[in-house]
């Protein structure tokens, strides 16, 4: 019986429909999450360690964060949770801290070429968060019934508290995983407030960051059932709620009562089948429902004089099918079909009328990719093409229909065992958000003549992944990228009292990415990555030739750890080069040097780990790329128990 269980599970899980991320022709970073849960980490913390990725934070641990890949804007990066697109159509950006970490298995960062089955194209790249699969022995001590539990507790500076629990079980033909977490923090760190005066320090004072607290709760439920040898059904439900203060940048005073509350629920049903009708055709299909509610409360009119209490709701339903089949001995084909419908319903307690006009978007994807294996399978060519029709509607009165054809191709050549040369080129789009197209019935006017942002992305480089010399693991990757983006959308004031989104210009993004991972004597692990990028405004405007704001030219990350039997010390260093705060390139935020260090203990109590860590060891008074103050030195302790 145990052997049969193993065979069933192996068929479904060891031969997935999609390729492993690293097997794609593009440059991808896969971040394994499991060990990260021993420490105080969030999704943006892990992403910040990836080459080519820059995180934009507005606060300390747990604060609102977005990301940029290869100098892109945040709304140009698509974020998926198990293949469900999280970017809402009304604003296009995702708060990375509103994503569950303890339920994740890995995070895939596609910097450029992304596989056809990751839905719509994205100029800036794709981040795919993959939840854990309950497996025999997952989180376990080898129990035959595959039951595994994990409890975690973190406490630290600024009254930060995190508790999480995961239970996973795999039995007979079914499996389930339940994960829950709660995180809270006051975020009340001190920083130097210059009171908005750049020419005098007489009014500068150390103040505490106010109204910077947050609390969030999340629960992830995942169940799977092996219907037959080659057939599996999975259902996932992820629920998240967050209540946070909105302090503003804090200089000259913080907002004292403004709050943001978000709720998200995703229900996703998946079906996988191998060998449809005794053919080599594999199928993976899914249907999902996403509900997102965002409440913004500013009853005192701190932000715009006028009290605001908005209660915006987004509902999205969609479904997709992925077909995969080998075609002869040297080809594989993928066909991906997706339909998605999203509706945005705004509501403002203080507006007349309270319910604002609704926006909706219907979109589809028909995409095909072929993997050709040539020259004794040493060369892989992956041409792909997407067709994406979509229609955006506003208040049943205004409508915009458009479609896109998106070709791209990737190539991977295995020069010698362990060394791949890679190159990719493709055309990508970012469709305008609802607010860009239709405005907000207030100070932001709509512009239904907006064209989508369009980019030609290309990269070339190599990856070496093979033990070498004294290193039991060694991976070295280099990539040069160059992206040309046209028809960038920006909000511009076009009258005394209104803003409008226009296709203002273009940008050139180019740079180098270098990453190195190596292990020594099965004891030491090191990782290092460096990104050098130039992000330049090339539009025919007064900003022509300026560097894009918020994009540091240089970023360097280094991590070292040594895993002994009972203890694992670790050290991290992050250097973020200077970046301009403004489009006019007048304000240069200083370079940031951040050192983190800590130690994890493994006492002789089954799978218990205890970690003590210090972040920003040298207490640098720093600001994020957007100019928001970040905390100095902070201390955290984490205990995790697996049983």
């Amino acid at each position: 019986m145990a052997a049969d269980l193993g065979e069933i599970r192996r068929d479904v899980e060891e031969r997935p429909v999609e390729k492993a991320a690293e097997e794609n022709a593009g440059f991808v970073t896969v971040i394994e999450v499991e060990e990260a849960t021993e420490r105080v980490e969030t999704v943006p913390d892990l992403l910040a360690e990836s080459v080519g990725v820059q995180i934009h934070r507005t606060s300390a641990f747990g604060g609102f964060s977005t990301l940029s890949i290869r100098g892109s804007a945040s709304n140009q990066v698509a974020i998926y949770l198990d293949g469900v697109l999280l970017n809402p159509s009304h604003i296009g950006i995702v708060n990375l801290t509103a994503l569950p970490l303890e339920s994740l298995d890995r995070i895939e960062v596609y910097r450029g070429f992304s596989p056809v089955y990751l839905g719509s194209s994205a100029i800036g790249g794709v981040v795919n968060l993959v939840t854990r699969e309950p497996k025999p022995g997952d989180l376990s001590n080898g129990l035959a019934n595959g039951l595994a539990n994990q409890l975690g507790l973190t406490y630290g500076s600024f009254e930060t508290l995190e508790v999480n629990a995961v239970r996973s079980k795999a039995n007979l033909a079914w499996q389930y995983l339940v994960g829950a977490h709660h995180t809270q923090s006051q975020g009340d760190f001190s920083f130097l407030d210059d009171n908005g005066t750049l020419f005098t320090t007489e009014d500068d004072q150390e103040v505490m960051r106010d109204n910077n607290d947050f609390g969030d709760w999340g629960i992830t439920l995942k169940g799977g059932y092996d219907i037959a040898r080659e057939r599996k059904m999975t259902i996932l439900n992820d629920t998240f709620y967050r209540d946070e203060g909105v302090p503003g940048n804090g200089f000259g005073g913080s907002f004292e009562s403004t709050r943001l509350r978000t709720f998200r629920n995703i229900t996703h049903l998946l079906w996988e089948e191998r060998g449809l009708g005794d053919t080599p055709l594999d199928l993976k299909g899914g249907a999902y429902y996403l509900f997102y509610n965002e409440r913004f409360l500013d009853r005192e009119g701190e932000i715009a004089f006028v009290p605001q209490e908005t209660d915006n709701r987004i509902q999205s339903i969609g479904g997709n099918l992925l077909f995969h089949s080998p075609i002869g001995e040297h080809q594989e084909g993928y066909l991906f079909l997706e339909f998605r419908q999203e509706a945005f319903k705004p509501f403002d307690e203080f507006a007349t009328p309270q319910a604002g006009p609704e926006s909706s978007r219907h979109s589809g994807v028909v995409a095909a990719q072929e993997d050709l294996y040539l020259f004794r399978d040493r060369l892989t060519l992956s041409p792909a093409i997407r067709y994406e029709p979509l229609r955006s509607d506003f208040d049943s009165a205004d409508s915009k229909t458009e479609d896109f054809i998106i070709p791209y191709i990737g190539a991977k050549f295995r020069w010698i065992e362990g060394l791949d040369l890679r190159g990719n080129i493709g055309r990508y789009f970012r469709v305008p958000t609802f607010i860009e197209l239709f405005g907000n019935s207030g100070a932001i006017l709509g512009n239904d003549q907006l064209r989508p942002e369009e980019g030609i992305n290309r990269d070339v480089g190599f990856r070496w992944d093979r033990p070498w010399g004294p290193f039991d693991s060694f991976a070295f990757e280099y990539a040069y990228f160059e992206n040309d983006i046209e028809d960038l959308i920006a909000f511009i004031q076009n009258s005394q009292q209104t803003l409008i989104a226009i296709n203002i210009g273009s940008a050139d993004l180019q740079g180098h990415e270098l990453s190195l991972l190596w292990g020594l004597w099965n004891l030491f692990k090191f990782s290092l990555n460096y990104t050098r990028q130039e992000a330049v405004n090339t539009s025919s405007s007064f900003l022509s030739g300026n560097r894009l704001p918020g994009r540091a030219q240089d970023e360097f990350y280094f991590h070292a750890e040594a895993k002994f039997r009972y203890v694992k010390p670790f050290y991290e260093f992050n250097f973020i080069g200077s970046n301009y705060l403004d489009e006019g390139n007048l304000v240069l935020l200083k370079r940031r040097f951040i050192h983190n260090m800590g130690i994890t203990f493994y006492p002789k109590i089954r799978e218990l780990s205890m970690t003590a860590e210090v972040k920003n060891v040298n207490d640098e008074q720093i600001a994020d790329v957007l100019g928001f103050p970040l905390p100095g030195r902070s201390y955290y302790g984490t205990a995790q128990y697996k049983f």
Binding site: N195, Q493, Q496, F542, F556, E583, G584, F593
Partner: protein, 380 residues
């Protein structure tokens, strides 16, 4: 391995020892100013960072300072007194003072904020006695009008406007705006808006008249039009105060109203928005019969419209609002030249127009670095 370790250590040490401080641009060294100039406040399109430039009135050559006035809010206005420029940081509630005899050492005065852009410092006027008045748009009636000591920058007191707030006012704020000093009288406009549901005027505006010697309210002038927004100009030649009133945005119900500072009465509209063909956003007075209006038509196109008495002429400068085009400000100097700020993204700068014959003295806008927000003239 050893060499690689040395490389990594060296790289780390180099990086650590090469830390830098915050750089606020790299201001261009300012030349000594000897000629009259137009000082132009500029900001980036996102209203985040502000700077300034100036234009020599004789040669019309610009000098872009790249001096950063603010990194948190680019909404800054300028006022001039005794060859000194006072920059009003509206949202930061800060005043930056630059004496053109000592440009390299600005002074700054900061005052408490009560919100993102509150109390919203909107104007500053000066008396001969070393005193200034600051008005705040988004403040309580008790703190909408402050008295400032020009030697120290201290706010020595407030003039309570509670008695002039209409009892029917829903938000309880007077929405104090522009000011002008004529003799020993301070004239202050109140916009009379209901800002609980997008700022909109609910009743005709007012001008509060204050005795600058006793800092007490003398009287209140009831205006005929609504929403006195943007300018309150005293013209010594005509001995009249001119008030721009935009009324409801998108409705042609405003105009330029004339106030007699001696009788303290309104003499009615000089020219209306209906005459001009759009919402009035700024204006300049040439004489008792001629002026220029900056208007925004119903399609949000902005135009400079000359008018004589109540008759508007054809616009002499117009920009279409699509693609972010927008004229922001007009100001008239003592040479009879009209300076026009153009924030159009693809051709931003300052136009100069001869008001004698409405001809352009520049073929294209004078480049002032960023986008022009406000213009004042300084005559050393």
């Amino acid at each position: 391995m050893r060499l690689f370790s040395i490389f990594i250590c060296g790289l780390l040490l180099t990086l650590y020892n090469c830390g830098g401080e915050v750089q606020i641009g790299d201001p261009n060294p300012a030349p000594q100013i000897v000629e009259p100039i137009a000082l132009v406040v500029t900001n980036d399109g996102g209203f985040k960072v502000a700077s300034f430039a100036w234009i020599d009135l004789g040669t019309r050559q610009p000098f872009v300072t790249e001096e950063v006035l603010s990194t948190s809010s680019g909404d800054i206005l300028a006022r001039v007194h005794n060859q000194t420029v006072y920059f009003l940081h509206r949202c930061d509630n800060v005043i930056t003072i630059i004496d053109f005899d000592n440009i390299a050492e600005p002074t700054q005065w900061s005052y408490p904020k009560t919100g993102s852009c509150a109390p919203d410092l909107v104007d500053l006027v000066f008396t001969s006695g070393g005193k200034a008045y600051a008005s705040y748009f988004a403040s309580s009636p008790q703190e909408s009008l402050a008295i400032i000591d020009l030697e120290t920058g201290d706010r020595t007191g407030f003039i309570d406007l509670s008695s002039v707030v209409d009892p029917k006012d829903t938000d309880g704020r007077p929405e104090a705006d522009q000011m002008s000093v004529v003799g020993n009288k301070l004239f202050l406009t109140l916009q009379e808006l209901d800002i609980s549901d997008l700022p909109k005027p609910v009743r005709p505006g007012k001008i509060v008249v204050i005795d600058t010697l006793s800092d007490t309210i003398e009287t209140v002038i009831e205006l005929q039009g609504m929403n006195p927004f943007n300018e309150l100009i005293y013209d010594s030649t005509t001995d009249r105060i001119y008030v721009s009133e935009v009324g409801v945005w998108g409705v042609l119900d405003g105009g330029i109203e004339i106030i007699n500072p001696d009788t303290l009465e309104s003499e009615g509209f000089w020219v209306t928005e209906e005459d001009l063909g759009g919402d009035l956003t700024d204006f300049a007075v040439v004489s008792s019969s001629k002026g220029y209006a900056l208007i925004q038509d119903m399609n949000l196109n902005t135009k400079v419209v000359p008018f004589s008495d109540s008759a508007a002429q054809a616009p002499i400068l117009e920009v279409r609002s699509g693609e972010g085009n927008y004229l922001s400000v007009i100001e008239l100097n003592s040479l009879g030249e009209l300076y026009v700020g153009d924030r159009s993204v693809r051709h931003a700068g300052v136009w100069v127009i001869n008001t004698v014959d409405d001809t352009f003295l520049t073929d294209e806008p004078i480049d002032v670095g960023l986008l022009p927000v406000d213009i004042v003239f300084v005559e050393p």
